[in-house]
């Protein structure tokens, strides 16, 4: 379990992380969400001890990262897939990492096999595509067979096949009982993978809840369905391009499809419905609303202060989000 308590980090004038507290629970996929610049990467760097916090503490199963006996056996982290020396072969890159934690040499070949890079193991990483670099980075996280895995925006810039691969990989890791902590600025990405959500904006905690709770909080267009045959309907919804999750009261919450589509699907698959209700916005819209509010609040708050260059990106971000929100509402 990762415990973050009262974490703050300042870079010059900019408060990147502001009094952040949350837990990452074992055996779950925890989505770490926030718009670009919200402080997700900074938080992950602080967890790994790459940067030092100005205040607060982080422990991993009760210990600071730097004092873990064998860090790679506890935590596997991928922050930046391109953070490798391009002149080194994939094999040697993994081998030099494995050696620091006294991991056996054969493990290098095993993780290369797992991510499908065996054929290019002896090639220098300079020529790797982003997708291949991501696989190499994931191979590195698996070297120590850790209980906790951390990924920072793992699908950024990947093609659809790469996204699918990473998504399934994370699911498989969680299914094995590992803790997966994964950041994204796209709610739609988390909808498919995360059990638990930690949402931040401008370095502050906005939400720390289960995916179901998050859905329950949001307002607008999703479809609630009560049915005695939930498994069949979940499958049908997924095939139709939507997604369905169990809510706390035993009903299904369908997103990505409108009520009529869900009704038709149920009819086609012979699924009996006891309830079909239009309820809420998509998670994406709920997330946008949540984070946009935080940005608006911050922007208003900053009006009282002398304007500086540091505030400028916040304004741009607000505009960009406003536009995005407009599109989402169509």
């Amino acid at each position: 379990m990762i415990e973050v308590r009262g974490l703050s980090k300042r870079y010059g004038e900019k408060l990147a992380v502001n009094n952040l507290s949350f837990d990452v629970m074992p055996g779950k996929v925890t989505g770490f969400l926030g718009p670009n610049g919200a402080g997700k990467t900074t938080t992950m760097r602080l967890i790994l001890g790459l940067d030092y916090p100005n205040a607060g503490s982080i422990t991993i199963d009760g210990k600071r990262y730097a004092s873990l006996a064998n860090p790679m056996r506890e935590v596997g982290a991928l922050l930046d897939a391109k953070a490798v020396h391009g002149g080194r072969s994939a094999y040697n890159h993994l081998f030099c990492l494995a050696q620091t934690n006294n991991l056996p040499k054969r493990r290098v070949g095993e993780v290369l096999e797992l991510v499908g890079l065996t054929d290019v193991a002896r090639k220098r990483t300079k020529g790797f595509s982003l997708g291949m670099s991501q696989r190499l980075g994931i191979a590195a996280t698996l070297l120590g067979d850790p209980k906790i895995l951390m990924f920072d925006e793992p699908v950024n810039g990947l093609d659809p096949e790469g996204i699918l691969w990473i998504r399934n990989f994370m699911k498989a890791l969680a299914a094995e009982g590992r803790t997966v902590f994964v950041s994204s600025h796209l709610m739609s990405e988390m909808e498919h993978t995360a059990d638990q959500l930690v949402v931040i904006g401008r370095g502050q905690l906005l939400a720390d809840c289960t995916m179901e709770e998050f859905i329950a909080r949001s307002s607008g267009q999703t479809v609630r369905v009560a049915t005695p045959q939930p498994d069949q309907l979940v499958k049908a919804v997924a095939e139709a391009g939507g997604s369905a999750v169990n809510s706390a009261d035993g009903t299904l919450i369908v997103s990505g499809l409108v009520a009529a589509q869900v009704g038709d699907l149920a009819f086609e698959h012979g699924v009996r419905l006891h309830e079909l209700t239009v309820v809420r916005a998509s998670l994406e819209a709920a997330f946008m609303e949540l984070t946009a509010d935080s940005v608006e609040y911050r922007a208003e708050n900053e009006q009282g202060q002398p304007p500086g260059p540091a505030q400028q990106p916040a304004q741009e971000q607000l505009v960009a989000q406003g536009q995005h929100r407009g599109e989402g509402g169509i």
Binding site: R45, L79, A83, V84, G87, C96, Q99, N101, N102, G116
Partner: protein, 291 residues
């Protein structure tokens, strides 16, 4: 990205991945520490081509320049004055390529040990694998120093023997058993290695290749030249405190010792103390700063 290479669960669903196929890791044998980090740093240094290119250039320059000077001297020996012959230092001349130009190469090599990790971002991956930074820093410095010392010793001895063979016709050639000769040959390798460690430490301070190399060349090469422009009474007072004075002092075997300098090993100690201070400052910054 190749579909066929994905480890597929059951084989039918190409995107379903499992990580449990790998055999279970043996339990840890202890705490990750200095030994593993040392092996890791050795793997790093031997697994990039730049290491081999740099060391090859070092050998070529050290041996080639030493040989060229020796061959030139031998060819013109007849025209040399008696005074020139009396002060001719066959040992120092044969290894001049190493301690004048080889140090430039080793400075670059020493600097990039750390700065290349910053420019590529590898440092974040390295420090995630081994977060105990002092361990990483010391392991890096040690691996670099050993590799540099081995290669510079090889360069020094080859340059020395080749140079003496080329000087044989002058009968002014030196032998290893000669007065101070072994000290000069080994000392040249130690001095050049120390230059590399100096640059390594500067790399930890600047974390940027160009800034590191520029400042080290300034300290080791430009400041001594500027110092020579000072009135000689001033220069004589400060010469012994210049870092590069160690190079000339430790490789000299014939010319009377400059009375303004310390003994060869004393002069070397001055440089070693500077290097140690810089290494400590670099280590403190490496430990304290955000990576």
């Amino acid at each position: 990205m190749r579909k066929g290479s994905i480890a597929a669960k059951g084989g039918s669903d190409m995107a379903a991945v499992t990580t449990t196929q790998a055999p279970v890791l043996p339990p840890p044998s202890g705490r990750a520490g200095f030994g593993g980090t040392l092996r890791s740093e050795f793997t790093k240094i031997r697994s990039v081509r730049s290491t081999y290119w740099t060391l090859l250039v070092l050998l070529a320059i050290s041996i080639g320049i030493g040989a060229a000077i020796c061959a030139g001297t031998a060819a013109n020996w007849d025209q040399a004055s008696a005074a020139d012959r009396a002060t001719f230092d066959a040992t120092q001349v044969s290894i001049a390529g190493l301690f004048y130009l080889g140090q430039l190469v080793i400075v670059v090599f020493g600097a990039i040990v750390l700065t290349a990790e910053y420019s590529t971002g590898m440092i974040r991956t390295s420090l995630t694998a081994m977060p105990r930074r002092v361990t990483v820093y010391v392991a890096k410095a040690l691996v670099f120093a050993v590799v540099a010392l081995v290669v510079t010793l090889i360069a020094a001895f080859i340059a020395f023997f080749l140079g003496q063979a080329l000087l044989a016709s002058t009968h002014a050639n030196a032998s290893l058993s000669g007065h101070d000769v072994l000290r000069a040959v080994i000392g040249s390798a130690l001095y050049v290695t120390m230059c590399g460690l100096f640059a390594f430490a500067a790399g930890a301070i600047f974390r940027h290749t160009a800034a590191t190399i520029t400042s080290i060349i300034g300290l080791l090469f430009v400041i001594p030249i500027l110092a020579h422009l000072l009135p000689s009474s001033w220069y004589n007072d400060i010469a012994r405190w210049l870092p590069d004075s160690a190079g000339g002092a430790i490789t000299a075997t014939v010319a009377p010792q400059d009375s303004h300098l310390f003994s060869p090993w004393g002069q070397f100690t001055v440089f070693a103390v500077y290097t140690a201070i810089l290494l400590i400052v670099g280590g403190i910054l490496f430990r304290r700063r955000d990576a």
